[in-house]
Every structure is written in structure tokens, then in C-alpha cells.
């Protein structure tokens, strides 16, 4: 089962690399020429800036959780550096609870990000249905929205995957569910 998983993971990674190359080629071939392209890029880059901590935070969380689930003890200091709590308090926690605290730490960035995305979505819907007058800016607001949507998609998927590790981590602290029931 583990072997199949590795093969599938490798295939997905290869596919990802091919898509990345195609994307770079696309950027070179279709270099932004029109203001709509630039609006898209600006939305993409500014929302990336807003989501940067989330993107890296969830990716690192997934990596560390994967280590823990596969039986390797992760570095305590690495996790503690990423949580904004007093060091003396963090020292008392075990690694699974440190990971939970890390996930909680990322929540505030997550909701800030989603609020910003909700605002741009509402604004773009208002312009799209001509409630504010489509005018000149409406099309560019929509471009910014689509740029933000790409980043939001990545944040959302990383967040979903990160939260699937909660159950696995909790199993490690409390033991297997059936063992708990038996004991």
C-alpha cells in the first residue's frame, strides 16, 4: 500500500512539474499586454503577499505532521518558533499538542485572508451585476478577483489537507480508538 502511494505521489509530482513548465512557457508566450492581464497579475501577487504565511505555514505543518504520523519525532524548537505563545508555556506541551497550537496560530491569518477575499468577491459581484455601474473599473476588479481566486484555491486546498492530519495526530496522543475502548 505504501509503495502504491509513493508511485502515485511521484506521478502527481511529475504532473505538477510538467504543468509548472507549461505555465512558465505560457507566461513567456502570453506576456501581459492588456490592462486586464495586469489586473489579474496584481490581484494574484497582492493576495499571494497576504497569504504567504498561510501557504508556507500549512505546507510546513503538513510536512511535520507527515513525519510524526510515519513515526519520526520532529524538532520541537522548529515548531515552537512558529507559535506566538510564551516559551515557558510551550515547553510543557507534548509534540501533538504543539502541532494543534500551530494550527490554531494559523487560524487568525486564515480568517483575515478569507475576509479580504470575501470583500473582493462581493465588490466584483456588485460590479458584475451592474449594481455600482460596470463602468471602467468593473472589468479590472473582476480580473483582480480571478487572480485572488487562484491563490485562495491553493490556500483552501492546503488548509483542507492540513486539517485531515488532526485525527491522525490525535490518535497518537490518545492511542488507537479501539485500544481506548478496550482499556
Amino acid at each position: 500500500m505504501k509503495k502504491v502511494e509513493n508511485i502515485v505521489g511521484g506521478l502527481i509530482f511529475a504532473l505538477f512539474l510538467i504543468l509548472l513548465l507549461a505555465g512558465i512557457m505560457g507566461i513567456v508566450l502570453f506576456w501581459p499586454r492588456y490592462p486586464e492581464d495586469i489586473a489579474f497579475l496584481l490581484g494574484f501577487l497582492s493576495f499571494w503577499l497576504l497569504a504567504n504565511r498561510l501557504l508556507f505555514g500549512y505546507s510546513q505543518f503538513i510536512n511535520v505532521s507527515e513525519l510524526l504520523v510515519s513515526g519520526i519525532e520532529p524538532d520541537r524548537n522548529y515548531i515552537m518558533d512558529r507559535i506566538g505563545q510564551p516559551r515557558s508555556f510551550l515547553e510543557t506541551l507534548s509534540i501533538p499538542f504543539l502541532l494543534m497550537a500551530w494550527l490554531q496560530e494559523l487560524d487568525k491569518y486564515k480568517y483575515t485572508y478569507y475576509t479580504a477575499f470575501l470583500l473582493i468577491t462581493l465588490l466584483s459581484i456588485l460590479f458584475k451585476f451592474n449594481l455600482l455601474g460596470y463602468g471602467i473599473v468593473g472589468n479590472y476588479i473582476e480580473g483582480t478577483f480571478w487572480g485572488a481566486a487562484v491563490i485562495t484555491f491553493i490556500v483552501f486546498s492546503l488548509e483542507l489537507i492540513a486539517h485531515t492530519y488532526v485525527d491522525d495526530i490525535m490518535e497518537i496522543t490518545t492511542g488507537k480508538p479501539e485500544e481506548v475502548a478496550n482499556g
Binding site: 484555491f153 483552501f156 483542507l160 489537507i161
Partner: protein, 163 residues
């Protein structure tokens, strides 16, 4: 593990939608900007015979986003069954009209001097030569005018019956 697989599948489907939306937006705007720079052909939306001055009155629409200049025209007269007038052809009559985007211009097409007035069944085929700012080429639009009822407006779309 199975839960993670399902979530990956969900993410893949969601990614398709987001990619289609973003790509559709960019492609739509690129196409719109390209189409906006294509010069249109003038359309004769109305044609009428002015019997007093012995001339045709055309209403010419420019449906595009670039100004078109009508340089000159030529007319070919094909007699019907009830007229005494002989067939004739006149070419290179200067016009010099510029039609702005989405505007209708009135164009007077003078028939040959000393020619008899049009009778029912006569056909006047007008060729208008025009240019647009993006190219030095000269294009043409041909409008066949069939005179059917006295003084009434007639727009012929089928090309007219040649004798």
C-alpha cells in the same frame, strides 16, 4: 487516508473550475480587444430613389470601431423592360465621406446626367470603394438597387435579377 484521497479529488475538481474561470476571463478580454481593432465593412441599411434630382439616397452604417472613409463609387445601370434608357457604366466618381464608428451617413449616388428617370424593373448596381486607417488597401462594397414601385424605398438583399 481515504479521507485525504477524497479531499484531493475535491480539490482537483475545484481547481478545474477556478482555472476555467480565470482563463476564461483572460481569453475573453484578449479576444474582445482583438475584435475591437478589426475594421468593419460598411452596410447599406437603406436605399431610396430621389426622382426630383434623379439620384439614389443611401444610408450607410459603419458597424465597427474604426472610422471608414468612402473614397469613390461606380454605378452600372441595367435597363428593365419598361424603360427607353440604354445600359451604361460610370466609374471613379469621387465621394470623400468619412463615417465614424457606429454612425450612419447619408450618401447621394448621382445617376448619369441627362439620363431618363428610373422605371420599374431597372437595376442600379453601385460599388462603393472605401479605405480604413490600418491598411493602404482599397475595399469595395456592392449594392444592387432594384427599382420596383414608384418612389418607394427598396432594399434588395438577394442580389437582383440580371437580364
Amino acid at each position: 487516508m481515504s479521507k485525504r484521497l477524497w479531499i484531493t479529488l475535491l480539490i482537483a475538481i475545484l481547481g478545474l473550475f477556478v482555472g476555467a474561470g480565470a482563463g476564461g476571463y483572460i481569453t475573453y478580454n484578449r479576444v474582445m480587444r482583438t475584435v475591437q481593432n478589426i475594421p468593419a465593412s460598411p452596410i447599406v441599411v437603406g436605399a431610396e430613389y430621389d426622382r426630383d434630382n434623379n439620384r439614389l439616397v443611401f444610408s450607410v452604417l459603419n458597424p465597427g470601431t474604426l472610422p471608414l472613409s468612402l473614397d469613390n463609387y461606380s454605378i452600372a445601370f441595367t435597363p428593365g423592360e419598361s424603360t427607353q434608357q440604354q445600359a451604361y457604366f460610370i466609374s471613379n466618381i469621387p465621394l470623400g465621406i468619412t463615417i465614424n464608428p457606429m454612425e450612419v451617413a447619408v450618401v447621394y449616388i448621382n445617376l448619369k446626367e441627362q439620363a431618363l428617370p428610373l422605371e420599374i424593373g431597372d437595376i442600379v448596381t453601385t460599388t462603393i470603394f472605401y479605405t480604413h486607417p490600418l491598411s493602404p488597401d482599397v475595399y469595395s462594397v456592392v449594392h444592387p438597387f432594384v427599382y420596383e414601385r414608384g418612389g418607394n424605398q427598396k432594399v434588395d438583399t438577394t442580389g437582383g435579377k440580371q437580364k
